[in-house]
């Protein structure tokens, strides 16, 4: 523990260096090191700033000269904005499981008397392989079932229950201890008549149950597949023999399928179970919801860029499909932005101008988007304005506030336009894709053209549906994106769509009274393919069917609509906006380093090119050349790469000695070289590269191949 603290402290100082060099001599002056400063406790309710040091975990930027208020403000901003998002995400996750919870509860309520059937009611919850998100699900189970069906739920994970005794111990402990909390533990070990029970004796549970009857004792196996099948069978047969006294019920979280699960149980065990299977909501649809609530949400203070989010989504699809990982990746992205970008203080709503430092303005003037803006201003001849922005801090501040306001307007704007674009599934791609596209490229003419083309081809009935939905969006907004109604702000559009809707309906009615079906010239069937046979040759000719008066009016209406959409839908991309660096985060690197570590790759690189990490002159090499100055283990690693799967240690030693030995100018003595060689080989073994081989004497087996 003490060692950990020492290390932790020195890590803190050195965590921004490329490599941590372990130097045992540091220990000597470790005695007068400062007291451990950091005690990370991120309790969200600890908003009061009485003990600033105790929760301030962000570091001052600008090379350490950023003042503390700004640092604190950034951290506050991060915590506040993330807590809002987190609340929405938790809400979604909890809602997603609700129907499953209800189903299971009603299944358990409907169970017939156990004594008559002699079978344990069991619910199989098909969760899919995202084992991590099951925790929340089962937590909800234990909350809901406790209330709804008067049950006591015990959650078992495969890690808790390595053998029968341990599993029973946990079950009994959880059932008896949880509600009576602490002191009564002693009582529970003793029955009412003072009898002591073994801690894996279900009779203790029975004794407890008699004093506090419940209608179900539910044992939930969170990751049933990971349990040993013999253990499961034992447990189930034990439960079924107690079934006439204790009303057991079982919950199984099944990752694959009930059939595969059943195949692993004994048949006699299967006879003790009867149950039903329940599905949970697919993680992809939950991800889509979380996407809307966390990334695309209108209030989100930070826009995440498309390349980052795309890589997140892709990883989700390819690798893990686990929702908690997705959420923590988002949180990490937020944290990175507020941690590393000093300009995020400007995102604060209350304008504390007095805490700003000269460095802030300098940093703004260095932003690429700001430079572009100034350059275009100069090109346009607005030299006065450009100069004032460059010279006058107060001007810059005004400009900055406008820019932030503008960004908020822009994000609202783009969401509203996207709502129109995604109406009625006219475009086949899903919302997240269109959104990310719009963030990176804006809503450009290609996208609009694609959209209007499909709008053009809509049948009149579909068009009314489309217009109705557009109007509905305008009137009601979209709570899942945090959009309020924007009909008032956009009266022209609203009026236009209303008019188009009523006209369409009127035209449709007119056409119907005349016995025609309404169509525009863009509808497919207006083109008639004619085949004429002239002189034994077939001629194909397109003919436009004649349009009635209603049809041509309808065509005009569609043209108007398309024009209107083309005018209103255009939107810039985020990167075109000035000072997008403050509110746009689109960097993959820190995320990848943290969430997808490559320990093997790093170790291999350190061994094959130690200079990358040590940065000392002695081990500077060109290519894969071996120089004697390299650390012994690095030399050994180079030699190791050239060997086969069995390594003769004597050969390795002679090869090593040939490199570091007498022929070189900084020659080592044989004894010293041998010591280094042994140490290097021991290190290789500790890192898992070689192990003792039983096949041949004096040989070691090669375990690791490069590049894996």
């Amino acid at each position: 523990m003490a060692v950990d603290e020492v290390l932790g402290d020195s890590f803190e100082e050195k965590q921004h260096q490329a490599a941590y060099v372990f130097d045992p001599l540091d220990e000597a002056d470790g005695a007068n090191r400062p007291a451990k400063r950091r005690k990370v406790s991120k309790a969200p309710n600890q908003q009061g700033a009485e003990e600033p040091d105790s929760w301030l975990t962000f570091q001052p930027l600008f090379g350490g000269s950023e003042n503390e208020q700004c640092v604190r403000l950034r951290q506050q901003l991060f915590e506040k904005s993330w807590s809002q998002i987190d609340k929405r995400i938790q809400h979604i996750l909890r809602k997603a499981n609700e129907s499953t919870l209800g189903d299971v509860a009603s299944f358990l309520q409907a169970t017939p008397d156990r004594a008559s059937t002699d079978k344990i009611p069991s619910a199989f919850i098909i969760t899919g392989p995202n084992l991590a998100s099951q925790d929340l699900l089962f937590e909800q189970f234990s909350e809901t079932l406790q209330i709804q069906v008067d049950a006591k739920v015990v959650r078992l994970r495969s890690g808790d229950a390595s053998n029968l005794k341990a599993a029973l111990k946990k079950i009994i402990h959880d059932v008896t201890a949880r509600e009576t909390d602490d002191e009564n533990d002693q009582e529970l070990a003793m029955g009412k008549d003072g009898r002591k029970y073994l801690n894996y004796d279900l009779e203790a549970l029975y004794a407890h149950f008699k004093t506090k009857p419940r209608s179900h004792i539910i044992i939930a196996f969170q990751d049933s597949e990971a349990f040993e099948s013999g253990l499961l069978s034992d447990l189930i047969s034990l439960f079924s023999s107690w079934l006439n006294r204790i009303p057991f019920a079982l919950l199984f979280g099944v990752a694959t399928s009930v059939e595969l699960f059943q195949a692993r149980l004994l048949k006699s065990t299967c006879q003790c179970l009867y149950g039903d299977q329940f599905d949970v909501e697919q993680s992809s649809s939950i991800i889509e919801k979380i996407f809307k609530a966390a990334i695309a949400f209108s209030d989100a203070p930070l826009r995440l860029g498309s390349s980052l989010v795309n890589s997140l989504l892709e990883r989700q699809r390819d690798q893990v499909s686990s929702i908690p990982v997705f959420v923590s990746s988002l949180k990490y992205a937020y944290m990175c932005h507020f941690y590393a970008n000093p300009l995020t203080v400007f995102l604060s709503d209350d304008k504390k101008d007095d805490i700003l430092q000269e460095e802030h303005f300098e940093a703004i003037r260095c932003l690429p988007s700001f430079r572009r803006y100034v350059e275009t201003a100069i090109e346009k001849g607005e030299i006065e304005q450009a100069r004032s922005l460059l010279d006058d801090n107060s001007q810059l501040r005004e400009f900055l506030h406008d820019g932030i306001e503008g960004s908020r307007r822009w994000s609202l704007d783009i969401l509203r336009k996207l709502k129109v674009l995604t109406v009625g599934g006219v475009l086949s791609t899903d919302f997240s894709e269109i959104y990310l596209d719009a963030i990176s490229r804006g809503i450009d003419t290609d996208r609009i053209a694609e959209f209007t083309d499909s709008v053009k081809r809509l049948q009149p009935t579909d068009l009314t549906v489309f217009l109705n939905q557009v109007l509905d969006n305008l009137d009601n907004g979209d709570p899942s994106l945090g959009l309020d109604s924007w009909a008032n702000e956009n009266k022209d559009s609203h009026a236009f769509f209303t008019k188009a809707l009523s006209t369409t309906k009127a035209l449709q009615a007119d056409a119907e009274t005349k016995g025609n079906s309404l169509r525009s010239k863009y509808n497919g069937q207006t083109k008639v393919l004619r085949t004429t046979v002239i002189a034994q040759k077939v001629q194909l000719s397109h003919d436009t069917a004649t349009l009635t008066r209603e049809d041509s009016l309808y065509t005009e209406l569609i043209d108007d609509l398309v024009r209107h959409l083309k005018e209103t839908l255009h939107c810039d991309s985020a990167k075109d906006l000035c000072m997008n660096e403050i509110w746009l985060f689109d960097s993959k690197a820190p995320y990848k380093d943290v969430f997808i570590p490559r320990p093997r790759g790093v170790v291999e690189r350190a061994l094959s090119r130690p200079h990358d990490y040590l940065n000392c002159s002695c081990c500077e090499t060109k290519g894969d050349q071996i120089v004697p100055g390299l650390p012994p283990v690095a030399i050994l690693y180079q030699l190791y790469l050239e060997t086969g799967s069995l390594i003769n240690v004597a050969d390795l030693w002679s090869a090593y000695y040939a490199i570091v030995g007498e022929e070189n100018e900084e020659a080592l003595e044989e004894q010293a070289a041998l010591v280094l060689f042994y140490r290097g080989l021991a290190e290789m073994r500790a890192m898992g590269f070689v192990k003792q081989s039983r096949k041949k004497a004096d040989h070691v087996a090669k375990l690791a191949w490069k590049g894996l």
């Binding site: 069991s122 199989f124 899919g128 392989p129 084992l131 495969s158 029968l164 005794k165 029973l168 008549d193 003072g194 009898r195 002591k196 073994l198 894996y200 004796d201 279900l202 009779e203 597949e225 990971a226 034992d234 047969s237 034990l238 023999s241 107690w242 990752a255 694959t256 399928s257 009930v258 059939e259 595969l260 059943q262 692993r264 149980l265 048949k267 299967c270 006879q271 179970l273 009867y274 149950g275 039903d276 299977q277 990883r315 699809r317 390819d318 690798q319 893990v320 499909s321 969430f595 997808i596 490559r598 320990p599 093997r600 790759g601 898992g688 192990k691 375990l703 690791a704 191949w705 894996l708």
Partner: protein, 509 residues
């Protein structure tokens, strides 16, 4: 005559009610009563044996309860039953024994009841309680205590001396009868001479029918029939089910009653529909022939709806199959169905990386390591040579040579263990070729990073990858560990096809 009565008598009225509630077991009940009743011929140790579901436990419990409750007019008898199935360890068994004896005697010296870790301690405890109890009630020397060990042969963590030691209890403690209920006794089980044994034979066909015609099993009257007709039909039907299913597949009463209950609605559906009358048994039998050829109903299904659905589809399959070739055709059909189901689930369920790893694990398990170079190396040709097609003349010759001594296809053999590093190497070698998305990214995308480790541990936790031996050897990230693939060929083929890979091409026979 009178004297005889006082020495040997059986409580006949008690036995009569017991025989009434357990039909076809009167011989056993009488024998058991003789061996337990204090005024008959009580014995010291008794072995009751027989296969499962032959009424051993139920009859013993019923008889002892009846005898105990009849102590008002007869000699006192008390008993305790210890179920080994509920005892996790031997110590658990001992403590449970002491506990139930305490309960049976209504013993007050609670302070003394505590730990009981060994057989010796058990002996001491029991001796103390039972002997004292006897001494207290000196006046009646004929009282007995019966201690029943139910299923003692299935006791978990039993020490080898358990049974002989328990058999000695009755030598130390007077008036104690120890009853062992077992499945099959071995000759030297208790290491004491001449223990009486009571055998509960399996029920015969007539027994089964007699039992099934009684209340808990007999069905409610059918529509369109009189109750008597229903009873007649049920009897004949039960006989038919017994001949068709119970005889070859399941001899136990619960199995038969379950099968009867499961088939009854389908069997009598024509009666309910009015197409046949209840008396036309042979017509009904012919109509329901398919069900009697299907042993699927005997298999326990753990999912309610799934089970009935399965049974339905199975039934229809067999209806079709039975017309062509009787009983031979259905086993493969069913197997195929189950596996395709599982395959589909797995292929859609797992993320792509996990699927690639699973296939790599299968290849590592089923190809010999010496073929790896041929399969995966791009050294000479620039493209990999695959096993199935396209082998040159030499390949064909070698293949034919090899088939001579290996008759069984490799994929039909069990998976062999491989080193994790090899599987990861196969994954890295095949990924670029198989993963259609990753292809464009080239070498950079092939890295083995934390996500691959996560996928491996996911597969391990689903037991699709199984760690072999060396449980002490580190965690899943230890590349030196030995592993084996946990799924079969059918599943892998499905998973491979879901990615557009024919796994067969990558296997060398």
């Amino acid at each position: 005559m009178n004297e005889m009565d006082s020495i040997f008598e059986l409580p006949d009225d008690l036995l009569a009610t017991l025989i009434e509630s357990f039909p076809c077991r009167d011989a056993q009940i009488r024998a058991l009563a003789t061996l337990l009743y204090p005024r008959a011929a009580p014995c010291r140790n008794l072995i009751i044996h027989g296969t499962e579901a032959t009424g051993k436990t139920a009859i013993t419990t019923g008889l002892l309860e009846a005898l105990q409750s009849a102590t008002d007019d007869g000699p006192p008898l008390k008993y305790a039953i210890v179920k080994s199935a509920e005892c996790v360890t031997a110590r658990h068994l001992f403590e449970r024994t002491v506990g139930s004896v305490v309960d049976a005697l209504e013993w007050e010296g609670t302070a003394s009841v505590g730990r009981c870790e060994t057989l010796a301690a058990l002996t001491v405890e029991l001796t103390r309680m039972l002997k004292e109890n006897v001494e207290q009630e000196q006046e009646n020397n004929s009282r007995r205590f019966v201690l029943v060990f139910d299923g003692i042969d299935r006791q978990r963590e039993a020490p080898p001396t358990l049974l002989p030691a328990l058999a000695r209890l009755s030598e130390i403690i007077p008036n104690l009868t120890t009853v062992f209920i077992l499945t099959t006794p071995t000759p030297s089980l208790l290491r004491v001479s001449s223990t009486p044994q009571l055998y509960f034979p399996p029920y015969t066909k007539t027994d089964f029918i007699a039992i099934l015609s009684r209340p808990p099993y007999a069905p409610p009257p059918l529509p369109n029939t009189t109750p008597q007709e229903t009873v007649d039909l049920w009897t004949r039907y039960a006989a038919a089910v017994h001949d068709a299913l119970a005889k070859p597949a399941s001899r136990s009463l619960p199995g038969l009653s379950r099968a009867c209950a499961a088939l009854w609605p389908r069997f009598t559906a024509p009666v309910a529909a009015g197409t046949h009358r209840a008396r036309e048994f042979s017509k009904l039998l012919v109509a329901a022939r398919a069900y009697f050829q299907d042993e699927g109903v005997l298999e326990p299904g753990i999912v309610l709806s799934g089970h009935s659905r399965d049974a339905n589809t199975n039934g229809s399959v067999f209806a079709a199959a039975s017309t062509t070739n009787g009983s031979n055709g259905h086993a493969p059909a069913k197997k195929g169905r189950e596996e395709t189901k599982a395959t589909k689930d797995l292929a859609t369920l797992l993320p792509p990386t996990a699927r690639l790893l699973l296939v790599a694990a299968y290849l590592a398990s089923h190809n010999a390591p010496r073929h790896d170079q041929t399969l995966f190396s791009t050294w000479h040709t620039g493209r990999r040579r695959r096993g199935g097609g396209g082998g040159g003349a030499t390949g064909a010759i070698r293949a034919s040579k090899r088939t001579k001594h290996r008759k069984i296809a490799r994929k039909l053999l069990g998976p062999s263990a491989f080193v994790l590093e090899r599987m990861v190497a196969i994954y890295a070698a095949t990924r670029r070729e198989w993963d259609s998305d990753g292809g464009e990214e080239g070498v950079v995308g092939v890295g083995v990073d934390g996500d691959v480790g996560m996928a491996i541990s996911t597969l391990a936790s689903l037991r699709l990858l199984v760690r072999v031996g060396g449980t002490g050897g580190g965690d899943t990230m230890d590349r030196g560990g030995k592993w084996r693939v946990g799924v079969g060929w059918e599943v892998i083929r499905g998973v491979g096809r879901s990615m557009g890979v024919e796994v067969e091409e990558w296997l060398i026979e």
